[in-house]
């Protein structure tokens, strides 16, 4: 029903009132003396008060999660090492600086004397900075590894680790981080809604080629923009496991968090909305989880940029992926960043609202692609709400053939199968190699139900009106209806 909307139908505000940029005076709200240098959500801060405020927010975002048993000991001591994910962007550059400044750089300004335990014992024994290079995704992308490495050089207490996106398809990398080598190479058919799996013995093992085939087989630009961060995240996690890391820190700012929350919800990731802000990952076969912390999730992009600018941090310019701009992630980013300019509170409202949500049902399985919890019953829900075959209920489901669909979460399944309204629909099979952890997961005992068919070596053929409202009543004729749905009519399908 295209209702009049009535945003306030049940009592809410119809309009978002614009507010002044700052509330009271131009003086810093903290020291009250200095003229402010930055407005943070209507509050004015001077440069001197700004940095301690951000540093305190950062520590508040980290320290409650350091000890395994938070109430057991007062002293902070992590069970493993720390790894900072560095993309070269503002958020991760700032968090690297904050981690170094707060926990690794020698401190002389704190009372307690040189023999004080805080100088002798680190919270994390070792620190790592991990950069995942994605330049191999497309042929002409620039490799920024050296720039990022140079940026990380300043922090010599943290060891630089380089991972490349193509490692996701590299058996030798998988083995080097402790993964179990798979018995056979598993491939999936993206053209099929069920994502049929097959094993091919004689295949091209070049990881870069496999990565590019995987990316080019994805059905939409949105899927590409979603798949790359997913691969990056899982590569980071397996690297972290290999390095004995207990805490992974990411530089997701409040703005980035709001973007990823809305983007994830728009891609069907509602079940894992909590994982966007706070996540614990248990590696297969492990007993201790790795905590993924985003300590800047209360700090906006503007504050991060101000920190980077005032501290002279080298922010490496990010390279845009070719073709991005009209995908869900980019559209969400444009939308949220636009909102943040006019309505700075909306961004924090999104994050606060989502923090009040929890998944409706528990989960015992995890998605083999993104390693996040799976909601059960997705297959059935999709079949009932979006009929894709006339044979529902009349034939036996295709369980006799190995399918990837049941092993994926809704969001990853959508990423691999949901098509664009534009462009030709792929009708032929395109078997694509699976990321190494996914192949390993499918061949593990948990998923041994998936039988690889005997014939697997032979892939089958396959108005704007400012401050006013205007009621318009018009009879909609056949021509107008046709215009509204014209993009979806194959030819002149007038009856």
């Amino acid at each position: 029903m295209s209702s009049c909307g009535a945003p306030a139908a049940e009592g809410g505000e119809a309009l978002m009132q614009k507010r002044q940029k700052y509330d009271k005076s131009k003086n810093c709200v903290r020291c009250k003396d200095n003229i402010g240098n930055i407005v943070v959500r209507h509050a004015v801060y001077c440069k001197n008060c700004f940095s301690p405020m951000i540093a305190a927010k950062f520590r508040r975002g980290v320290e409650p999660y350091v000890n395994e048993a938070p109430k057991g000991r007062r002293r902070l001591k992590a069970s493993g090492n720390i790894l900072v994910g560095l993309s070269g962007g503002v958020g991760s550059t700032v968090i690297l600086d904050l981690v170094n400044q707060s926990y690794f750089a020698p401190r002389t300004d704190t009372p307690g004397g040189k023999e004080h335990p805080r100088f002798n014992e680190r919270i994390w024994q070792k620190g790592f900075v991990c950069y995942v290079d994605i330049s191999a995704v497309f042929p002409n992308m620039r490799d920024r590894t050296n720039e990022v490495r140079n940026a990380a050089k300043t922090y010599d207490a943290l060891e630089f680790i380089l991972v490349r996106l193509e490692n996701a398809f590299d058996d030798s990398w998988w083995t080097s981080v402790g993964g179990k080598p798979s018995n056979s190479e598993l491939f999936v058919d993206f053209a099929d809604q069920d994502l049929l799996i097959t094993a091919i013995s004689d295949s091209n093992t070049d990881p870069v080629a496999a990565l590019r085939t995987f990316i080019s087989a994805l059905p939409t630009q949105t899927a590409i923009s979603q798949a790359i961060p997913t691969l990056v995240r899982v590569l980071l996690l397996y690297t972290a496991r290999h390095l004995g890391v207990s805490h992974v820190l990411l530089g997701t700012s409040l703005t980035s968090l709001s973007i990823s929350l809305i983007s994830s919800i728009s891609q069907g990731g509602g079940f894992t909305v909590r994982e966007e802000s706070d996540e614990q990952w248990m590696a297969p076969g492990s007993t201790t989880p790795i905590r993924i912390i985003k300590p800047l999730q209360d700090v906006g992009m503007k504050e991060c940029s101000a920190w980077a600018w005032w501290h002279g941090l080298p922010v490496v310019q990010k390279e845009k992926l070719p073709g991005t701009g009209q995908d869900i992630a980019a559209l969400t980013k444009d939308f949220i960043v636009g909102l943040e300019k006019d309505y700075p509170s909306t961004v924090s409202t999104i994050a606060k609202t989502c923090a009040k949500l929890a998944p409706k049902h528990g989960s015992v399985r995890r998605c083999l692609l993104c390693e996040r919890p799976i909601q059960e019953g997705i297959d059935d829900w999709l079949t009932r709400t979006s009929i894709r075959s006339l044979s529902i209920g009349n034939t036996t489901p295709r369980f006799s053939t190995a399918r990837l669909t049941p092993s994926l979460c809704y969001s990853c399944h959508t990423t691999l199968t949901s098509k664009s309204s534009r462009g030709a629909t792929k009708s032929t099979s395109s078997f694509v190699r699976l990321p190494v952890w996914l192949s390993a997961g499918l061949q593990s005992a948990e998923y041994s139900m998936f039988q690889i068919p005997d014939e697997r070596d032979q892939p089958a053929e396959k108005t704007s009106a400012k401050d006013t409202e205007v009621w318009q009543t018009r009879k909609i004729g056949q021509q107008e209806m046709k215009h509204a749905i014209g993009d979806f009519l194959i030819e002149d399908s007038g009856q």
Partner: protein, 355 residues
Amino acid sequence: MAPRNCVLCEKNKAMLKRPKTGQQICKDCFFYVFETEVHNTITDAKLFSPGDRVAIGASGGKDSTVLAYVMKTLNERYAYGLDLFLLSIDEGITGYRDDSLETVKRNQQQYSMPLKILSYDELYGWTMDSIVKQVGRKNNCTFCGVFRRQALDRGAAMLGVDHIVTGHNADDIAETVLMNIMRGDIARLGRCTSIVTQGEDTIKRSKPFKYTYEKEIVMYAYFKKLDYFSTECIYSPDAYRGHARTFLKNLEAARPSAIIDIIHSGEAFEIREEVKATQKVQQTCRRCGYMASNDLCKACTLLEGLERGMDTTGITERARKKMEAEGPAPSNLRTIPFYKRTAGSPAVMIESSPA
């Protein structure tokens, strides 16, 4: 390129690309999947029982016109055993409802369904024209929305029905999910994807088009040659829903499944238990007996504000408190009749469809 065969029946020539799935299908298969998905929605949620009296909220727009047609079709095809009624609300906007009410009256004849038209004027003593004259155009949606919701319940009570079905489609629901997240309305976010809503003393209300794309509704109307009136309200650019709507349309253009994906997200999460505990408990309006969050329901608060010339009373909490501080309502204040459900037996005469 020559058109391909329908991917579903593999016999007929494909005539459309289905907005929801991207599949190229023929007209007959489109009708089949469209109707079957609505049927699945109805049966999975166990919306009806045989003998239920069900009112279709009919505005004369595309959603309710198609809903009336589909409800009648499914009721006959699957023998739901429902008594179907049409219920229309006349907001009293000159020139707005006249044409669309004609569509509803024609539906009444075509589908042989009794029709009840209830006007704001009849119920509240105010038309939207008179409200806009007093409050201006800025907040009139609040009045219209609150009054319509209650008017539907009251109209349904008059018809003695057990259930109201409305034409809210998948786009509306996805848009509401996004909007509630953006404005932090956690209570509504928790319930906006529910297919059925029912308060303690209100009539069950459901959305059989919950998973139906707006584009497919237009497509269905087009192929079935159902005519309707567009009753769109053009919002000012700053309105929340306007933002959410534009954003959603962009997402849909990027990937059509975005609409159903957002609904799936909305169904997958719920409000955390500790947050639920802080939510307001539902009460009954002491003046009209309708469900309320405060002593007075929203409609009574708005109406009292109108009557006392304090127009923002129902819009902001501050204005409501200010009105309360100014003392009790005068005794001669016009109020809404007391709400009482009379399921099973109509409390009013309804217009039967001509034989």
